[in-house]
């Protein structure tokens, strides 16, 4: 081989090695995400009413989503015993969203999972003893316990938030859903523009039967709660104190119980965030607002609702607190039993702590002195592992 050829091929080798080395050691692409996260309420929750208390909790023994099943429990008013009343017919790995009605009636939605893309609905009128299917919502329900609301004043209408950021309404028996609003149409209203609406987060009704929608506002100091007045969406009239003027506000839940609607809001971001409850009277425009519960940077783990506007919250820091519309101050609860996922409020506002370990639910009741939890009931749920695989 000539010297010139040798030098040439050597250079080629070096160039090839550099090229290959550069290809082989290229750093992995790192996606950047600059958008802020919309706070979402946990699906573990409970709803208390005059006829009893409902609780939905996630149970299962595996990290695989297919082996996690949502369970529904009901405790009739005047008793201390919980019963497993999970509705049948559909795999509920995607989540159960409950809307409680008058008396022991309720409608449950199965959030779709895997290859299911619409939302089956089912109702009970006897505390979950018997269930009958309703016409499905032909869209996936949004992933929040605030995605379904039942009007219990008379019309019996259902209001549902979908993952496509639309609000659909139907009479459960007729089963014909119509789009009441969407993020786009609501955001284009004067109230929506004032809020700078960025996401729909909750659906509800005023005790008078007026549909409510709520969301995340991009404008600080504005609470995005909207009421449908004869087909026109307007601000629901919640005026915030000046102390919240510079805060971002997200409405997490809208729950109508006992002739009032409670709105759970998160104010601020990060370490400055706090929880607030706003209660409305039968009509919009008459709101009272609670003091803030400091989250100290923790996330809201679960929120529960009971009679007399009672709201209980568990935060990521392991603390729990309860507030009523009459007391107007948060009452700290003793340290929760291990694995508590939600609190359930009784008629007198006394909470039960529901703790989940695999397929076992343990009910802890707060002692009368309010200082300790005592184990009251253990329910072993016959979960069919592998049935959704």
């Amino acid at each position: 081989m000539s010297r010139r050829v040798s030098v040439g091929v050597s250079c080629a080798a070096v160039a090839a090695a550099v090229l290959i080395g550069a290809c082989g050691s290229a750093p992995a692409h790192q996606a950047a995400y600059s958008g802020s996260v919309v706070p979402v309420a946990s699906m573990d929750t409970s709803l208390g009413g005059a006829a009893g208390t409902w609780a939905t909790v996630l149970m299962g023994g595996s990290a695989a989503q297919h082996n996690n099943f949502w369970q529904l429990f009901f405790r009739p008013a005047g008793t201390s015993t919980w019963k497993l009343v999970t509705p049948p017919g559909t795999a509920d790995n995607g989540g159960l969203v409950l809307a409680a009605g008058a008396g022991p009636s309720a409608i449950s939605a199965f959030r779709p999972s895997q290859d299911l893309t619409f939302t089956p609905l089912i109702q009970t009128s006897d505390g979950g003893q018997a269930w009958s299917a309703l016409s499905p919502l032909d869209a996936p329900l949004a992933s929040t316990p605030a995605a379904l609301a039942l009007e219990s004043a008379g019309s019996g209408q259902l209001l549902a938030l979908t993952t496509a950021s639309t609000a659909e309404q139907a009479s459960p028996k007729a089963g014909k859903w119509t789009t009441l609003a969407s993020l786009r149409t609501l955001g284009a209203t004067p109230a929506g523009r004032q809020c700078g609406l960025r996401a729909l987060t909750a659906a509800g009704y005023l005790p008078s039967g007026v549909p409510l929608l709520a969301g995340l506002c991009s404008h600080p100091g504005v609470a995005g709660i909207f009421a449908d007045r004869d087909g026109r969406w307007q601000a629901a009239g919640l005026t915030l104190p000046p102390s919240l003027a510079g805060q971002d506000l997200t409405v997490l839940r809208l729950v109508a119980v006992d002739n009032q609607t409670a709105a759970l809001l998160q104010a601020g971001n990060g370490s400055d965030s706090s929880l607030l409850v706003a209660w409305s009277g039968p009509a919009a425009g008459q709101w009272t607002i609670s003091p803030g519960l400091e989250l100290n940077g923790a996330a809201l783990m679960s929120a529960s609702f009971g009679l007399a506007g009672t709201v209980a919250a568990i935060t990521g820091g392991g603390t729990a607190a309860v507030i009523t519309s009459s007391a107007r101050s948060w009452q700290r609860l003793p340290a929760l039993p291990r694995s508590t996922v939600t609190l359930a409020l009784g008629a007198a506002g006394q909470p039960d702590a529901l703790a989940v370990h695999g397929s076992t639910l343990t009910v802890w009741q707060l002692a009368t002195d309010g200082h300790a939890w005592t184990r009251a009931q253990v329910i072993n749920v016959p979960i069919e592992y592998g049935s959704s695989s």
Binding site: V9, A13, A16, C23, S25, F118, E384
Partner: protein, 613 residues
Amino acid sequence: MPGMNSGLNVNDPTVVAAFRSALLHQGLIALLIFVVLGLAWLGLRGFLTSAARSVGTAPVAMSAEPSWRAVLRIGFGILWVFDGILQAQPKMAVGLPSQVIEPIAATSPAWVQHAVNWAGTAWSYHPLQAGAAAVWIQLGIGVWLLASVRGPLSRLAGVVSVGWGLVVWVFGESFGGIFAPGLTWLFGAPGAVLVYAIAGALIALPESAWRSRLPSRLLLPGVGVFLVGMALLQAWPGRGFWQGTAHGKPATLASMTASMAPTPQPHLLSSWITAFTGFDEAHGFAVNLFVVVALAVIGVTFLSGRPRLVRLALIAFVVLSLADWVLIEDFGFFGGLGTDPNSMIPFILFGAAGYLALVSAPEAQPDGAVATVSERAASWQSRVRATLAPGSLATASLGSVAAIGAIGTIILGAVPMAAAQASPVADTILAQAVDGSNAPLDFAASPFQLTDQNGHQVSLASLRGKVVLLTFLDPVCTSDCPLIAQEFKQAGQLLKTDARRVELVAIVANPVDYQLGYTQAFDRQEGLAGVRNWLYLTGSLPELQRVWRDYGIAADIEPAGAMIGHTEVAFAIDQRGRVRYEMGFDPGPGTTATESSFAAELSDTAQQLLASS
């Protein structure tokens, strides 16, 4: 990677048995080809030799095959045969996409995965034909190379070796992983089969090149350049080769060998690899320095072209390659589903051939030309004359006959695969592997009258005159039923014009969610609302329960949030209303391959019934 993996167990007994059977049958045909060719050759030889004697044709003088070419031809011929035998492993039919192609492609860029996915999907759709084709093509190329010493047939063997080698390199080895991070000579870069292809190209050189200096200029310097490049790559910082451990875990080389040690293999080999892993963890820098220096020195020595130095470097290269083959590559075919002995043996063959080309290179001609045009023309003319002469057939060697047999073997494997690829649907063997073969029956189908998704009453009697493919679906099922619905939809598409004479019917199998709104929502979800011969029937619960009982369908409410447990079955009902087949219809892994296979099975069954009417 979507579609690549059929999802079946690699040891699936149905596929393994069918693969063995296919290989046995094709093997017998291949044997027959060789026997017939051999007998014909013997007969012609006896007849034509005497005829040639009477004509008095003189034998054509030919130059001997150079030693470097013999090393490449025989060496890579044996490797192809060995690879063909490895392809005959029972697990290969199902396992190659999931256990060979997919893991290799996993670290490559998306465009490589996209290209590889195409081939993996093609294989997983037709595992028997693809598996058998790989066996016979590789055995055929190997035998062809071994048998055909010289002449156009021998050169053609080299060309075919290049073609198939590139196919395997691109689709089977994801371009040898050259676009993936962690590329190194130690792990087999740039892919063993690329070396096969280059060897094929050298074998395909015309005979005039044998007498030139081209081989000596190409072979050893080529290996030298490659090794210098690999030394630089090995020395490149930040690739994890200079450390034995990183963050308390084995670094790049040690983690690779550590993963090889536990795979099934003789204990002695495993212990060697474990010992090397420990050594590299402790002395990672020294190991890499040694490799870098060794590759660089050997490469530069190969480039020097001095035979005495090259001989020493070749010995060092053989030792280094063998050490790598045993301690790092684990012989290439241990540990998982091996398809070849990896790259070190091909490299050794290349090095040896390069050395032989160097030491046997002719002196440079004064004008630098290999041969004059007139010489080339003369040799071409003499070759044509020799080929056309009647006596040439009589003097055809046994090797040439074997080469023709090998070509027949390649065709034997390639033609069924090509025919299978012409079909867009997967082989029904996949569906049979999941749920067994169809059970032939012949009894009157139980009548029913239910409501379709449009609210119209439909009875089985009203479908008389059509083939009915009947199944039972839960409209809120989250896993299997949507797959089954898609299989029915695909079957309808496969039937084409015959679809007019076939009705695809599902009956609700859910005692809770059976209302019309659910069948309609399911149809929209599955894109079935516009399918003309699709019926999704429901009724009152007592009506449904009666149909379930008549057809032996369980539809049980399961507790605690589980979906309805129901029988997954399909019935084929002929035009006279008689049940002719019952098909297990659990969709199994639900891959695109199995989905397509079930659709093909449905379509085939319907067409069979249509044809028998």
